[in-house]
């Protein structure tokens, strides 16, 4: 039986336009065999949670380089929970200090990739850690 392809939402919250990383990751995940939906820039947490539900994704990857990660990650997590989608795997990347990454992990962010992470590592992580939602 053919396995269902995992669906990943690559999302770019916040007001900044740093989409180089998000687009590279989106392409690498697509090349890695996943269904990828890229939101484009300037998304609010509501827009991201809404897209995650609409697109019925298994994971959401947030790319944040604006320094607003401690506001945006928790808000996306809260909204997904509110919409009954707390089994969506959340991961992310950007300029995120270790201390903040530890706090985000406690809140349920499964992995944080910081500058220098390779697309290969990220694809491998998704393959091993994201599971289809029930």
């Amino acid at each position: 039986m053919a396995e269902k392809r995992l669906r990943i939402l690559v999302a770019k919250p916040g007001l900044d336009g740093h989409d180089r990383g998000a687009k590279i990751i989106a392409r690498a995940l697509r090349d890695g065999g996943f269904e990828v939906i890229y939101t484009g820039l300037h998304q609010t947490p509501e827009m991201i949670a809404e897209a995650a539900i609409q697109e019925d994704v298994d994971a959401v990857g947030l790319s944040i380089l604006s320094g607003a990660h401690m506001t945006l990650f928790p808000e996306v997590i809260r909204l997904l929970k509110e919409k009954g989608a707390d089994d969506v795997t959340i991961f992310g990347g950007g300029i995120i200090p270790d201390e903040d990454a530890r706090k985000l992990a406690e809140m349920g962010v499964k992995a944080i990739f910081t500058p220098g992470a390779s697309t290969e590592d990220i694809v491998k992580w998704v393959r091993e850690n994201v599971h289809p939602r029930q």
Partner: protein, 544 residues
């Protein structure tokens, strides 16, 4: 006499060569050696003297012997009073000009109290929602004597208006106000992605500002045509060069269509390049840019004033080249890039701080970055000779090569009907995304090397101190903006905003109505909302 080809075939072929591809950072293949055979064109036509057409060797006759470049460090964070303090510190350390970094809400046309601003107030720059914040930002800084650069684009019209109103209040006539506002909207759609409305009305606002400054603020640079963000988004040096020059051509064409005389406004157009880590390629890029702009202005637009043909430029070392790993190494990268900028003949420069991949820079890191420029200027001796690398076979051959490849891109963009059309169909955006992806793959395959990232890696924890922005700043700024909105004359604000909206449709230059709205304490967000309602909102097509 042995020709180069004979030498390559008879001698070089038998010499030892490392098993790598010899390419520039942008993936241009380079030859092992350049000789007089590689230098095409006559000296007069291709190079000439500095300060003379086509300005390949520099825009001024005496270059740095006459005046060193302006050392202009970009700064901004937190509340206006915090950045004001940093500005005054930089001026006291011998910096010549100011350069303002605004926070994301300000850059995107939102007030600090907007829902869209939550978590972002004062983080990546200073929060300026109204003329009051602008006044605090320049408190005790004489606007008539210090030139100020403001890095802002889609909300630039409002920020320029606020700056001019502060000048009025300091008693400085607009004719004496000097500085630069980035205001390069085309590259926003291409690379930096800060926008309010679609490209066509955005271009109209830029042209309004060019027209307004030409007539009312003649010492101000109304646009800084920027390659920086294009490069940082992943473009090659050739793409940066081509797309930036093509953006410039689009602005000139639009202003000429408006009925302006090219020689009245073109002398106030300036440029802004990225200085990346490939030393020779970057020097070649800067030299090629000057020659291309001079020729295009003369041939395409019939410019007669030499100042219309001079590509004067600011430059910044490449933020994207810095690494979070072993961050002290960044000091070396920045120094080499700054040296390339100087050898490339820039007019002003920002050197990045070593900790900028981690957070906004600390004061100590900023000091090292500024000192880097001062060491190049005062100790190395490179500023004593004009265009000291001119005539190097390699530099001249590379200059010709990046120029030829960039002209090919410009030809394609012309065929599409110019840059506005090319942007609307996503052409430069896709080219850059493609180049960024290709480079990332090369990095991961080890074809390209970044020390500390894919070679010479050591295990490490975050080793240096980083600047943290106090979250209480946001709440203070939100309260301040709300209080101002309660206490001002809201009828007067409403009237002024109506006049801005009318000008959006009547075609009247927007700047006078915007200045009046700002005087009456209308905010960045409110005036941007007028653009949103009158011109429509642009959303990211999300091209991969």
């Amino acid at each position: 006499m042995t020709t180069k080809r004979e030498w390559l075939e008879q001698t070089y072929k038998h010499a030892k060569e490392r098993p790598v591809r010899f390419t520039t950072l942008s993936d241009l293949e380079v030859e092992p050696l350049y000789t007089p055979e590689d230098v095409k064109g006559s000296y007069d036509a291709s190079l000439g003297y500095p300060g003379a057409f086509p300005y390949t060797r520099g825009v001024y006759e005496s270059m740095y012997r006459g005046r060193l470049w302006t050392m202009r460090q970009f700064a901004g964070y937190g509340l206006a009073e915090d950045t004001n303090k940093r500005f005054r510190f930089l001026l006291s350390q011998g910096q010549d000009g100011l350069s303002t970094a605004f926070d994301m809400p300000t850059l995107m046309g939102y007030d600090a109290d907007s829902e869209r601003a939550i978590g972002e107030v004062g983080r990546e720059g200073v929060s300026v929602s109204s003329v009051h914040d602008m006044q605090t930002l320049f408190d005790q800084i004489p606007i008539g004597r210090v030139s100020t650069s403001m890095t802002v684009n889609c909300s630039a019209s409002v920020l320029l208006a606020a700056y001019l109103v502060v000048a009025e209040r300091q008693g400085v006539p607009w004719e004496q106000v000097s500085g630069t506002i980035q205001n390069d909207m085309l590259k926003e759609y291409i690379a930096q992605k800060e926008w309010i409305c679609p490209p066509a009305p955005a271009l109209r606002i830029v042209t309004d500002m060019i027209e307004f400054c030409t007539k009312k603020v003649p010492r101000f640079h109304p646009v800084s045509i920027s390659g920086y963000h294009i490069r940082e988004a992943g473009a090659t040096a050739v793409q940066e060069l081509a797309f930036t020059i093509a953006d410039g051509l689009c602005y000139v064409e639009d202003a000429v269509k408006r009925g302006l005389n090219v020689d009245d406004f073109a002398p106030r157009l300036s440029f802004f390049w990225d200085i990346h880590i490939d030393f020779l390629e970057e020097i070649a890029k800067l030299r090629a840019a000057r020659r291309m702009w001079a020729r295009l202005m003369k041939e395409r637009f019939g410019a007669k004033n030499p100042r219309s043909m001079m590509l004067r430029t600011h430059a910044q070392t490449a933020g994207v080249s810095l690494t979070a790993q072993q961050p002290l190494n960044n000091v070396v990268r920045v120094a080499l890039q700054a040296l390339a900028g100087v050898l490339g003949g820039v007019q002003s420069m920002h050197t990045n701080s070593m900790d900028e991949t981690l957070a906004l820079p600390t004061e100590q890191a900023v000091m090292v970055a500024l000192r880097t420029q001062q060491i190049i200027a005062e100790e190395t001796g490179v500023a004593n000779i004009i265009d000291p690398l001119g005539g190097s076979y390699a530099i001249e051959a590379l200059t010709d090569k990046v120029e030829a490849e960039a002209l090919e891109y410009i030809r394609k963009i012309d065929e599409m009907g110019g840059m506005l059309k090319a942007i609307e169909r996503g052409y430069p955006q896709r080219e850059i995304a493609e180049a960024a992806f290709r480079y990332q793959r090369q990095l991961e395959q080890g074809v390209k090397t970044v020390v500390g990232v894919n070679k010479f890696v050591v295990p490490e924890e975050l080793p240096i101190e980083v600047l943290r922005i106090d979250p209480a700043i946001e709440e203070r700024q939100v309260q301040r903006v709300r209080k101002m909105k309660r206490e001002r004359n809201n009828m007067a604000v409403k009237e002024a905003l109506k006049r801005v909206a009318d000008a959006c449709h009547s075609g009247e230059n927007l700047m006078e109505p915007i200045c009046e709205a700002v005087r009456r304490e209308a905010t960045v967000g409110e005036i941007s909302d007028v653009f949103r309602s009158e011109f429509g909102v642009y959303t990211d097509p999300g091209w991969l």
